[in-house]
């Protein structure tokens, strides 16, 4: 019997520890697994390496982890969202490393890891400082850079509904990075608003099939 639902954060976070590499879904606060981030904060783990579009946003979740000095590095496209003085401060002090990846390349690199692609060529960043050190190549007269896949030990994702097989739906633009991150980690942990019975999600409407999901934790939306 398959039942991916877990009932407490200890079970949701089993295996996470100091130095963990983790993808965190969300674009700003939309789709960010805030309660999972706070449970990580509570457990005191340090030296975390985070892959996320932003370096947190606002007051909650990943922003708290960074403020508390728990994050060593963020791989992201845009670290300085609104109210992100905590990022500027930590970065200026040398306490936080930032690796900047163009947003579409970030997302495609994550998908590539999940899809078993060993690398891909994109025009994005050609001729810019972000292409430095990358292999460059010309196809049909157009220049491309080679980008490697991007994996992590964990993916922490926020979704709307799940069933015990781990099938997921999302809400509006909170979908963002969730579906690709869920494919690209050794362990995918999903914070959902509600777990529903098997078969209650229309098979045509499943956005992330359960094959990509390891653990589901229900946290009632606030």
């Amino acid at each position: 019997m398959i039942d991916k639902q877990v009932h407490d954060f200890d079970a949701a976070l089993a295996g996470v520890g100091d130095g963990a590499t983790m993808m965190v879904s969300g674009f700003g606060a939309a789709g960010a697994p805030q309660d999972l981030m706070e449970a990580i904060l509570d457990r005191g783990w340090r030296d975390l390496v985070v892959i996320s579009n932003n370096a947190g946003e606002g007051e909650r979740g990943l922003a708290q982890l960074i403020r508390a000095g728990r994050v060593r590095k963020v791989v992201c496209s845009f670290p300085t969202s609104s109210n992100a003085e905590y990022v500027r401060d930590a970065w200026a002090r040398g306490a936080l490393e930032l690796e900047i990846v163009p947003q579409g390349t970030l997302s495609e690199r994550i998908r590539a890891a999940g899809a078993g692609i060993g690398g891909f060529y994109t025009r994005t960043s050609v001729g810019t400082p972000l292409a430095e050190g990358k292999e460059q190549r010309c196809f049909d007269g157009v220049d491309y850079v080679l980008e490697p896949p991007l994996r992590a030990g964990f993916a922490f994702v926020r979704a709307r509904l799940a069933d015990r097989w781990g099938n997921l739906t999302y809400n509006k633009s909170a979908r963002n990075f969730g579906p690709s991150m869920a494919m690209a980690a050794d362990v995918t942990v999903v914070q959902v608003d509600r777990v529903v019975g098997l078969g209650e999600i229309d098979p045509e409407q499943v956005v992330t099939p359960g094959i990509f999901v390891d653990r589901v934790i229900e946290v009632a939306a606030t």
Partner: protein, 225 residues
């Protein structure tokens, strides 16, 4: 006579007039978002937001904001009938795959060969951040730039060569400034419209590169105040 410099809203209005019926367009974070307010009512234009929205609608009334429905600038928005949601990877497949008819981006600098610099001033005292600008710059069928003609201290933003780190190489098709509408063609700036009260020498003095002037170069004005 002083040049009748356009306000930012007027530049947004002017850009909106150039977006054809049926186009799919991405409006960059910041001033370009204003273009949405001036899209002609008789055209149906689909706005794309890189965080997974097609058919983005206006700001919701106060109290009806949904934190899960935001634009690329993370402001609350709405969805029009016919709109759809999709994931980030699919959203950038649209961008990179050449499916957007145009995008409107801000700029720090634009070079006469179409190079765009809009993400970094090379200031190493500030954390870097690029967002989706590099993907939009290479991906959209037409890249329109919305910018003041000069910086606040009067330096030209239209240059022979960008001095800031690039966003994209040879990507810009047209620049809309508070003074002129300028195409990029064969490695040259070609002025198509210019505000009243300015002549060719006047505009060239405010520009960091030589200018060509299109036959029948028109007057840049806006139908809004």
């Amino acid at each position: 006579m002083t040049a009748a410099k356009l306000t930012r809203a007027q530049v947004a209005w002017r850009i909106a007039q150039d977006i054809p019926d049926g186009a799919v367009v991405n409006l960059g974070i910041g001033a370009p978002v204003m273009v949405a307010d001036y899209l002609p009512a008789d055209r149906e234009i689909v706005i794309h937001s890189e965080n997974g929205i097609l058919g983005m609608g206006p700001t919701p009334p106060a109290g009806e904001e949904d934190p899960d429905l935001i634009n690329a600038g993370k402001q609350p928005v709405t969805l029009l009938a016919g709109g759809s949601y999709f994931n980030h990877t699919d959203s950038f497949a649209m961008i990179r795959g050449g499916h957007l008819d145009c995008c409107v981006l801000g700029a720090f600098q634009v070079a006469q060969n179409g190079d765009l610099a809009n993400w970094s001033t090379g200031d190493n005292a500030r954390p870097p951040g690029v967002g989706g600008a590099m993907d939009l710059a290479v991906g959209a069928k037409r890249v329109l730039v919305m910018t003041d003609h000069c910086t606040r201290d009067g330096s030209p933003k239209l240059l022979e060569v960008c001095t800031y780190p690039l966003t994209g190489r040879g990507v810009v098709d047209r620049v809309y400034t508070d003074l002129a509408v300028i195409d990029i063609a064969d490695g040259r700036f070609v002025v198509r419209e210019m505000v009243a009260g300015l002549d060719a020498d006047g505009l060239e003095a405010l520009t960091g590169a030589p200018l060509d002037f299109a036959d029948g170069c028109g007057v840049l004005s806006a139908a809004i105040g």
